[in-house]
Point group: C2
Chain length 487, copies 2
Amino acid sequence: MSRIIPRAQVESFTGSFDAIVCGFGGAGACAALELRAAGLEVLVLERFSAGGGSTRLSACEMYLGGSGGTSLQRDLGIADSSENFERYLLQCFGAFTDRARVRAFVDGAAGHFDWLEGQGVPYRRSLFAGRDVVTLTGDSLQYTGNERAWPFAASVTPVPRGHLPEDAGHDGGKVLMDVLMQRVAEAGADIRCDHRVTALIRDDSGRICGVEVKADNRLQHIEARSGIILAMGGFIMNEELTAQHIPQLTAFCTRHGNPGDRGDGILLGVAAGGNAIHMGQAFVGVAHYPPAQLTYGIFVNAQGQRFINEDVYLARLGAAIANQTDMRACMFIDNQYFARPDYHQTTEIIATGDTVAEVEEEAGLPPGSLQHTVAYYNEQAAQGADPLFHKSPDWLAPLVTPPYALVDYSLPQLQPTCFTLGGLDTLPTGEVLTVDGEIVPGLYAAGRSAAGIPRTGAGYASGMSVADATFFGRLAGRQIAASAGQP
Amino acid sequence: MSRIIPRAQVESFTGSFDAIVCGFGGAGACAALELRAAGLEVLVLERFSAGGGSTRLSACEMYLGGSGGTSLQRDLGIADSSENFERYLLQCFGAFTDRARVRAFVDGAAGHFDWLEGQGVPYRRSLFAGRDVVTLTGDSLQYTGNERAWPFAASVTPVPRGHLPEDAGHDGGKVLMDVLMQRVAEAGADIRCDHRVTALIRDDSGRICGVEVKADNRLQHIEARSGIILAMGGFIMNEELTAQHIPQLTAFCTRHGNPGDRGDGILLGVAAGGNAIHMGQAFVGVAHYPPAQLTYGIFVNAQGQRFINEDVYLARLGAAIANQTDMRACMFIDNQYFARPDYHQTTEIIATGDTVAEVEEEAGLPPGSLQHTVAYYNEQAAQGADPLFHKSPDWLAPLVTPPYALVDYSLPQLQPTCFTLGGLDTLPTGEVLTVDGEIVPGLYAAGRSAAGIPRTGAGYASGMSVADATFFGRLAGRQIAASAGQP
């Protein structure tokens, strides 16, 4: 299969646009809106029969803040400086951080929220201060990541940054995408569904100048005079690519996304000389909450030892379990706090008992190991302390109400939701970069076709993907407009 | 910088060979020998003023076995079935394993040893059965990896597979490469040093058909009629590439290799459409032995907990420390077993005391944590047991002789040696593959320019790199010969 076609081999174009947006999910829709706002002729190509992508399947949580706060944060009296926002993101991704991308995001995120509201996405001025992944209370602001957990809270003041469409619960993505797709249509973009991009066309100068598209079983060639945006999702649904890049997860992962997340944008970009980076990084979601009360439980590994503060975000937990012996972990919990996790109703209870010793023996843990772990934890928790992992006092309580249970959260058994974080290396403005850091002329990427703000599962927070996709989709659209001499 | 030049842009070639080998290290030398053995005209291009590469800087340990045993293993009465060898390698790299590559290696490794001896590399029929990275006893066979450590030994019978040139100690690479380079010259290959390959030349059919080379400040273009082998090392010396792919290590890693390990072969291959895989995987060497007695010590993390059986290979330890909080780890040891590790003479003693409690307090570890860890370990070790991590009874002894010490092995302080494991995806026979698994015609890779047998630091063993480079260098040479219709 050849994904690059020399311009000379294309007899004639069946159409010509200023810009072509490949993929009509969150990134593509936002790119199209900016392109149309600048007056450019825009073609949007979608592989499936309708747009939406994985963004439409999401809760549409968006991780936004900075600039003193989004209007929603400010209306609730919550200050969020850009400095604090940036420091938090740096702490999340450490050496993996793309500093320039984070800087652009931090500077523009609050304005992005205004833009989303301006498009017609409804937000309620109310905060959910509890612990949940996606609140079902109808509130539009919540904590979504590790903000209140160690080591983050120890050096960066926690700020809630998860913005959710009003009353949408898990259906926020539908609210967002139905609005955005409507706006794109109203704005006059040419939207063609059931159109699959099969190749990029490159002219003699090396510039990507068009696409080959398959529709109705025929190949067409369409020109893009100013730029092409790859916004075709990640690659979690591509079994060959995941076997290659995240082989350790493929035996058990529950693939999270839409069926089009096959890496097509990444592969097209690579064929054009783009550099795919962090292809081995993934989100591994071990949702031990809600209900929040499970945060009172403690996780132990095959050695009966704790290995994390249990008040972390679910993907930080997943990343930590992946590092334990045989990716094995269990939650020890007492009868007072026991519950089934909402997102993993099938967790298996592998041991119960009226004493910790009984549980330890039934589970086959090393003699004395769990007993020590629980006794030490309880002794310290009674004083509001967790000297090992610094779990917040909010979630510290001795586990002393029998019967006790040990619940399996081992990755092979739990089959956690996973999606990929690797993608094309780009400038914040979307230009695809080669291994030498040079721009591939005419080619842009956004959304999970690009390596975005979230770069490790351990630093991820709900809302980072959709915020990244929509924000950087807009930036790519604006950059093409600027390159075309439009405002 | 363009690394691919269309054939049409090359006016004329200044030379023409059946095969061009880029890089005169272990992989390149072996490839050249096979090419010459098949009667092909061979050009070897070396960037530096003499060949040798990182192989010449190594101890030339080679991880070999199978087929009932190499002649060296068999002469010592050591049986090594291919099935056992393969099972061990599968256990080392798990889901990351390239099954076809492992199969080819297991089937051919014993024959490879005979070939090396045939070239004139001297081996002594003697086994060093102790615990060391590279024995200085002059013996030619030793255990080099995790063979005798849990969980490996629990399911695969340990076999010593580290083959070392006789009496060479750390200088085995010089012995090997001086022999091989001499043989390549005698065999009539055209060897050109101070020749830097700057680009590949591609003909209209998509075949890689030549190289652009810079020498004496002039560019030359040289044709390869049957194939080109990229054998130019890994990328640990390339700060841009390591910042991109192993950012978490770059702040402190001691870069292990020769100055030419800049990823040139990988970048050339990618430019030609090749697929670079596992670019985020690296060897992190925390050499807590020799002296072997340090294996009696125990490693604890920031929580004062053990996290590994201390009888593992040094890169498995390094991988485990990288997963601990702040990549922090210390060895707790008593006065009976205390020593400075040979490879890390500057380790810092961060706490000492006549009691474990004193050490714990001085180190600022959580109250009671180290005391429990040591008490539990000692109690179990007295019975020859390690129920947590299953360290071999050979290395279990209560640590009860004061004073006690806690020695810092945290990665940022220790600055461990690191090298990269990612590279071009190839068939076992060296053909470079695209992201779609298709062959890039005319292009081959071997050595650390390719992703080889060792794919994770946690499964690595000394001897895997040089064995892989030399073995698969030969296979690539033979494949080009076969493609050219030569025996």
